[in-house]
Assembly symmetry: C2
Homo-oligomer: 378 residues x 2
């Protein structure tokens, strides 16, 4: 079965058991129970548990038959929150797939270990920035990529709003940025990677992936909620490119009492469709959403889950370079920090990147050996 | 320019002008103003107006350069609400495209007039139901389609959760349902249409459309937020099939003070990507979202808008058959009523459908001529 956990918030007089049963009907047969023919009754979600959490809130667990969604990602999203999105007080807080469903979805092709290998970084946290803003020429964006690569960042991704504006058309931008990063790597001996944003029209996606591959890129950025989740799943399986997912539009799901929790949306769904790295807005950054703890999200991305590889948490969105070491202490080394504005604000982006890289290197260097302790007097 | 209107809800002490400027930066350059290079400054949205609405609320209008989104639907959605989705108190209430952008997006291939022509219905409101539930065999679903077609409904669409479950695989279901409806039409002389749900994996979409076309279907149902908005746009242009859009997942955008208004999401975006008919949850039905007036949404779908054809409003979601005549009085004849559960609850779906059709026919029949007035005495 496919098991979904909800936090139900009930209005005064609303019955949590009835609300759970309504969810189970709405997400499957979309009929009142009495109108469901016997031949279809097996599709109705089975309410396994409804238990009080705090005033006005209950935790409900509903088990759906695998055949309701199968391996169809669009239908999985529909089953998760499609119809009930138009109701209220329903927050999806967990998702469990059956071993059979999990086995049919390969998940990230690279995962944490694969991304580390691509970057040639064994232990320390990884560092990422965004090449921006939209409106610059491809040459100017490439110069920024070159500077950040020389400064020692690991992944230089396009900003998620940089698509194929006339000032920097996709193919030209990819060629120039990738060349610039290769040149910087040749100069420094580094292994910085450029990940272009491939989000855009549906019909052109395959061509954009081919352009990125042909230029020598090893990964790409994509916004699953803009491109369609299954389009991302298909890329992960077939493109040979690492995938960094962008959270844009996801804030719609983060209402306090209604939506899909970040652990489920980013930590499970984005991982399931094959994101090797999952960008999310770090609490305390410039986004003011009421995020559940990033720790729980990080744990979900890294946890064992069938044969699905762990994905790399990528906190960003107003991540201050100066605070990266503190966040790294908290989040641990299997994290990629996406630092943008605070590097740009420094003016000398190469120098700012180098200082950030140095600070992160220091975190994981073994401490200098302590001087030998004075011998105790004999 | 591309002009977006927002309703900003400010926390105590939050400055509405600063909030509007922050939106203009966040949705374009994603940098603090001081860090934006001169070469990209033209991309920042221009805050044209910030005016008070009521306590704590302001109306802001921001004009973005066309080149920020171009004709890229994914990027248009990103520009509309991508990054700011993760902030709070920002509701998109209007969207205006430049004549150039509008001209590049053909919109519905059929529109209201085209759907009426397909159904052979000149004046009265149209009638639609959902073939369900998931879990029935293709044969059982086809029998339902046959009954509804005999009862005189115009459009019989798959339920949005009926995808390609093993009990009714897509190709078998389409063939059986389409045959059943053709048989009913041959018996009644009617022109009922079967619209299969083509939502599913990205790679298989083209094949599903071909299957529907080959079977003789004239239209399909698709869920844009599951499939990807641009995938729908591409279908509208090339498939030769009428498109009915389903609102699933859209409730995420309908937070009271944060999101995208139904007029913009359904009334403009779904119309722009080519939905000929737009299903939406009717206020007072089984969905409890705080919908703005359906009248405004209906008006947006039908209003003149460049060369974009008007799209048919399709209120549904707990639409009671008995109340359709009352809603029809309010919404007017250029509406398709999606009536599901109340027909199923009747048991005899053919009879229930016929009573609904008769009730709607009576609405628009010219009243019987009044008896001649008695002559006044000479």
């Amino acid at each position: 079965v496919l098991r979904i956990t909800y936090r139900l918030t009930c209005a005064p007089g609303e019955d949590p058991d009835a609300k759970a049963r309504d969810v189970a009907l709405e997400q499957t047969v979309e009929l009142p129970r009495a109108a469901v023919p016997d031949d279809a009754a097996r599709m109705i979600g089975a309410v396994e548990r409804v238990e009080p959490l705090d005033v006005g809130r209950w935790r409900a667990v509903i088990a759906y038959p695998d055949e309701a969604a199968g391996q169809d990602i669009a239908q999985l999203l529909n089953l998760l929150f499609g119809g009930i999105s138009m109701k209220s007080g329903i927050l999806v807080t967990d998702l469990e797939l059956s071993p059979a469903a999990l086995a049919a979805l390969p998940g990230p092709a690279f995962g944490i270990a694969g991304l580390r290998s691509l970057c040639g970084v064994a232990r320390r946290p990884l560092l990422c920035t965004a090449i921006k803003p939209m409106g610059l020429s491809a040459a100017a964006l490439a110069e920024l990529a070159y500077r950040f690569a020389r400064g020692g960042l690991d992944v230089l991704k396009d900003d998620h709003g940089v698509t194929s504006q006339p000032s920097a058309p996709f193919a030209e931008r990819v060629a120039r940025c990738q060349d610039a990063v290769a040149r910087a790597n040749a100069e420094t001996g580094g292994r910085a990677l450029y990940f272009p944003n491939v989000t855009g029209d549906a019909a052109g996606l395959e061509r954009r992936l081919e352009t990125a591959r042909a230029a020598g890129c090893r990964g790409v950025l994509v916004s699953p909620l803009l491109q369609g989740l299954d389009a991302v799943r298909a890329m992960a399986g077939a493109s040979g490119l690492a995938i960094l997912s962008h959270p844009t539009l996801a804030g719609a799901f983060f209402q306090p009492d209604h939506g899909i929790s970040a652990e489920v949306l980013f930590g499970k769904l984005y991982r399931l469709i094959g994101a090797d790295g999952v960008v999310y807005p770090n609490p305390g950054g410039r986004f003011r959403w009421d995020a559940p703890s990033a720790d729980a999200l990080n744990a979900a991305l890294r946890a064992p889950w069938g044969r699905i590889r762990p994905a790399l948490p990528v906190p960003g969105g107003g991540m201050d370079a100066a605070r990266v070491p503190a966040w790294a202490e908290r989040y641990g080394p299997d994290t990629m920090f996406l630092v943008g504005s605070s590097l740009y604000a420094a003016g000398d982006v190469e120098g700012a990147a180098r200082r950030l890289r140095d600070a992160v290197e220091r975190l994981t260097s073994p401490p200098a050996p302590a001087p030998p302790a004075p011998r105790p007097p004999a």
